[in-house]
């Protein structure tokens, strides 16, 4: 039977989950350095308790630890995100369009930062990391319906803010 204490099993868990743990904490608090530390500390805890945690439970164990680590300590900072440049033919766009696009992104950045932490985390885990609502629910320890609610509210709040309603 697989055991988290086996190096191969453990290293697999680390490699498939560490980036999401990092993003998850970053979306919440906007601090890269702290998010990086959380990844290390959460996996140290998992390693120390590898004999008690089954491989199936290891993932949610790591998120629970990550959640608890800095929940009350970190002061939320601005989340800074990048935008992938998906349009190679951007030079053909009209200057007006480019300006509009730039303004939209700025508004989106601001809107994201003014979202409640749990809505922003849910929204970004879905949009950037492609996590399904069920996965996010597992990470956050809430029901899928609660995640759908956060997602709905996040979308609504973002639009309202961007449109200036």
């Amino acid at each position: 039977m697989d055991n988290v204490c086996e190096e191969e099993v453990f290293s697999n868990l680390f490699k498939t989950n560490s980036k999401t743990v990092f993003n998850y904490i970053y979306y919440k608090f906007g601090n890269e350095e702290k998010a990086y530390d959380v990844v290390q500390e959460a996996f140290v805890k998992l390693w120390e308790n590898c004999a008690k945690v089954s491989p199936e439970k290891a993932k949610s164990y790591v998120y629970t630890i990550a959640n608890n680590l800095y929940l009350n300590v970190i002061k939320a900072e601005k989340v800074r995100l990048k935008y992938a440049d998906r349009t190679n033919n951007s030079s053909y766009e009209s200057p007006e369009f480019l300006l509009e696009e730039k303004e939209f992104k700025e508004k989106l950045d601001n809107a994201l930062n003014s979202l409640p932490e749990n809505q922003r985390t849910t929204f970004l885990l879905n949009r950037i990391d492609g996590k399904k609502y069920a996965e996010i629910a597992e990470m956050e320890g809430v029901s899928v319906k609660a995640i759908e609610k956060r997602m709905h509210l996040a979308l609504k709040a973002l639009r309202d803010q961007i449109e200036g309603i």
Binding site: Q40, W47, E48, L108, K132, L155
Partner: protein, 303 residues
């Protein structure tokens, strides 16, 4: 429109009617735009391999921790090793020959598996295999011993000088350096000395000193005299007598101007040293001085 329809829409969970209705709504265009732009968002860089290496470098005691989880495993290994060692030693010891020996001024009685008896005189040693005793009754002897052999298969006593074979009888074998004596008290004993077999009936002795076979004499007793605490000699060179004296009393004998070749006939006590010293010195016309653990025999006419 159902609850949380924006989340459902993003997840493609709206029914066709709902989707059509949503698309007709005024806000649809801005949600569409929001979905499209947010789809190009990217998180800060995170190097998984770098993080993994850092994690590994901060966990130098990995292996120790794994062992800690199973402390019983180490114990089991030790226990298994001990069991193996004991089993091996038992097997080894059980195949070894039995050995009984006596020191100076000591006697010992051995009862063999078939109830044959061996009484060991001082400074003697027998070796035999208890395991194979039922198959072959072989004893190897250094020194002197009296044998009471139970009836049965051939019983063999091997010494450095000669081989004694019997079927069931009582006999005494003495083998010291240069001295070999077999006395039969009951039944018939076969003695092989220098490749020559001699049949020895009850009441006869076979004596060889330095390879020379002497005339056989018949003892009067039914057991050797040493078993009644007396050492008896019949025309035996004095040096063998003194050797026996050393063995019986665990004492060191020195001589001065004494002819050790002269023959001695007589006996000495194994319990009273003064009596024994007189028994040896008087017939040999020598004197002695006893000092602690040393005795000096010297010629009467010595200066």
């Amino acid at each position: 429109m159902q609850e949380n329809y924006l989340a459902k829409w993003l997840n493609n969970d709206l029914s066709e009617e709902e989707l059509a209705a949503f698309k007709k709504s005024a806000e649809y265009a801005s949600y569409e735009k929001l979905m499209q732009v947010s789809g190009t968002l990217e998180a800060p860089d995170f190097d998984i391999d770098k993080a993994w290496n850092e994690f590994k470098n901060n966990q130098p005691q990995k292996d120790v921790k794994v062992i800690k989880m199973n402390p019983m495993r180490r114990l089991w290994r030790i226990a298994a090793a001990i069991v193996v060692i004991f089993a091996a030693s038992y097997f080894y010891i059980s195949t070894l020959d039995e050995s009984v020996s006596t020191q100076y001024a000591e006697r010992n009685e051995v009862r063999l598996p078939d109830n044959s008896e061996i009484i060991l005189n001082a400074d003697s040693r027998i070796t035999y295999s208890e395991k194979n005793w039922a198959k072959e009754r072989n004893i190897s002897l250094q020194g002197e011993a009296f044998f009471k052999v139970a009836k049965g298969q051939k019983f063999t006593v091997a010494t450095n000088d000669g081989l004694v074979t019997v079927l069931g009888t009582q006999f005494n074998v003495e083998n010291r350096t240069g001295f070999f004596e077999v006395t039969c008290y009951e039944g018939l004993v076969s003695v092989i000395f220098n490749g020559k077999e001699t049949k020895l009936p009850a009441g006869n002795s076979f004596i060889a000193i330095n390879g020379n076979v002497l005339n056989t004499e018949s003892p009067a007793e039914t057991t050797p005299s040493w078993m009644s605490n007396e050492s008896t000699f019949n025309s035996i060179p004095l040096n063998y007598v003194l050797d026996e004296f050393e063995r019986q009393y665990n004492i060191e004998v020195k001589t001065e101007n004494v002819n050790l070749e002269q023959l001695f006939t007589g006996s000495f006590s194994n319990t009273n040293i003064n009596l024994a010293l007189q028994s040896i010195s008087t017939p040999s016309q020598i004197k002695y001085e006893l000092e602690g653990n040393n005795v000096l025999f010297y010629a009467e006419n010595a200066p």
